[in-house]
Symmetry: C2
């Protein structure tokens, strides 16, 4: 605990009551110049800073919000966190941060901790927004929250997202226009991510509308933090039935897939096209640059926090999903499908 100097000591030094000290600090009532000066002197002499704990207990406001994301190390989350934090700070709020590391069961545990800390609201990305005990708990506790990246369909929970199906369809449209017909969907545990599932759905719809077969699906165990993962990923890619394009539901995985492809002698995009989803900024710097669907990640964080702020001050807020604009970002990682060397008539 800081300094252990309390309002009582300030009052003692200033020769007034603690009520007066409180009034000077918060400007919540008139005070005589003489008293105010003594109080201010005492505050700076003692380096006093009011305890938010005491204040919170009395006012029942903690000015704190919680953020829960699957991972900090994915730039998509990092940049939206920056947006959330910026807006939170602008409103005098502080941010309590947790990562689930993609363990859905950890969501509930984290929520309980944050509720105990009396957060006034949360911005979070859960595994499945339509079916989440963590969110049910928040509803029961009547603590406001805004989902970020999740795009719930069955529930009308408040969320900030892009149109994941449309985005994926758009990207697939580009691949199909480039002549790709054997496209694989390469994802990591995507069944536990409602976003990936929607992107998969968009992928399937695009293929069907083009009269093409459903995409081959490869589920990989790639978390991005184990030294053996690149080799394992490469080995798994070998199992594919020679697709000409790979669609990954997130950019980080797409980068890993490009590296793994290269390591097994598949040139990108000459031998295989690879596309991602998210629009992380590094994707623009690399060669070939990563074709992807860009999400306005920072703006999404900003928007989510603005909505949460509105909820916290009881402003009227319509439930449901706020779709922000996604954008196809072209990149050198995709190119025209290679001419068929075998198979086709």
């Amino acid at each position: 605990m800081s300094g252990a100097v309390s309002i009582r000591m300030v009052a003692a030094r200033a020769g007034c009551s603690i009520a007066t000290v409180s009034r000077v600090i918060n400007g919540t009532a008139q005070t005589s110049d003489a008293v105010r000066e003594r109080v201010e002197e005492a505050i700076s002499a003692l380096e006093y800073r009011p305890s938010e704990i005491g204040r919170s207990l009395k006012t029942r406001k903690t000015r704190t919000i919680g953020i829960v994301v699957p991972s900090f190390t994915n730039p998509v989350f990092a940049s939206s966190i920056a947006g959330v934090e910026e807006v939170a700070r602008a409103h005098g709020r502080t941010v309590l941060l947790s990562a689930t590391e993609y363990h859905a069961e950890r969501e509930e545990e984290i929520i309980e901790t944050l509720l105990a800390k009396q957060v006034e609201g949360l911005v979070l990305t859960v595994a499945d927004a339509d079916n989440s005990r963590a969110l049910d708990r928040l509803d029961a506790a009547r603590v406001p929250y805004v989902l970020l990246y999740n795009q719930p369909a069955r529930t009308n929970r408040l969320a900030v997202s892009v149109d994941n199906i449309a985005g994926a369809k758009e990207l697939l449209g580009q691949l199909i226009a480039l002549g790709h017909s054997r496209i694989a969907f390469v994802a990591g545990r995507f069944r536990t991510s409602d976003r990936s599932l929607l992107r998969y759905q968009g992928c399937v719809e695009a293929m069907r509308e083009a009269g093409l077969p459903d995409p081959e699906v490869l589920e990989v165990d790639y978390a991005g933090d184990q030294p053996e993962e690149p080799d394992a990923l490469a080995a798994q890619l070998r199992e594919l039935r020679s697709p000409t394009a790979l669609f990954c539901p997130n950019d980080l995985l797409a980068l890993a897939v490009i590296a793994a492809s290269r390591s097994i002698g598949m040139k990108v995009p000459a031998d295989v096209s690879v596309a991602g989803f998210d629009g992380i900024s590094i994707g623009k710097m690399i060669e070939p640059s990563l074709a992807t669907i860009n999400q306005p990640t920072r703006a999404m964080g900003v928007r989510a926090m603005e909505l949460l702020q509105a909820l916290c001050q009881a402003d009227p807020v319509e439930p449901g999903v706020r779709l922000l604009q996604h954008q196809f970002r072209p990149g050198g990682s995709i190119a025209a499908a290679p001419v068929e060397g075998n198979g086709g008539t």
Copy 2:
């Protein structure tokens, strides 16, 4: 505030005193089975969760620590935050997060906020650990903290770092061994980062020891979040007096420099070698891969939090810097210096 259900309501429903409820919850004293069961029933029926605010006020422990970093969007910080958070959680602690966005003056402001929140300690990366009003404030408040990435020299503050000078020298040694003699140090506002300054120093030392002239210095305005930055960076690179190698004190900048070099027709590494410092994992995936000095970022976060935990429980901890092992990570972004086409002889 969650549910608004307090210990008093639980006690009322269970037909006992709040003291007993507290004892059941904390297991801090024996309770009869009958009472315990009634209390447990009440707790789950009311979905009661004790308020950390009330508890903190009484126990003077918030079980909360603060993290302050320059930015979330640099993977170096993101991955160490993940390490800190993991260890914090393991100790039942929660994490309050803030970013300075590289504004040193924001450090103090953030520290004040976190102190008001009664954090029990902090893990932080400041602009200059030897000369920091924010750290002075923490010292005065007697709140424990562990620096991360900072490598203070004049003060013996507790810190977890790599040997920045040695790391930079090692990297420069590799460049020099490849025949580079005109090497530029390309950094963004590096005078406000003690780490970058040390890396610069290592760079200079390596050059001098090899009998080479001091590196040319290019200070760039690259934050990585403005659309016009890539072009501006490229324009600045043009101003250099044709160095054969560029050393950037962080990987994120190195990636941007590689992209900018490419955009002005300089091939990496054929025309110019580029090296970074940090060891972000994406550096391994790209082509050419990024030559850099690897820092064990997650482990550094883990170590910092372990030290902080020790401080929080008043375990004896020696002050000073803990140097973790860095490692040169070879990469295709550096190659032998091109043969001199002009100038020589």
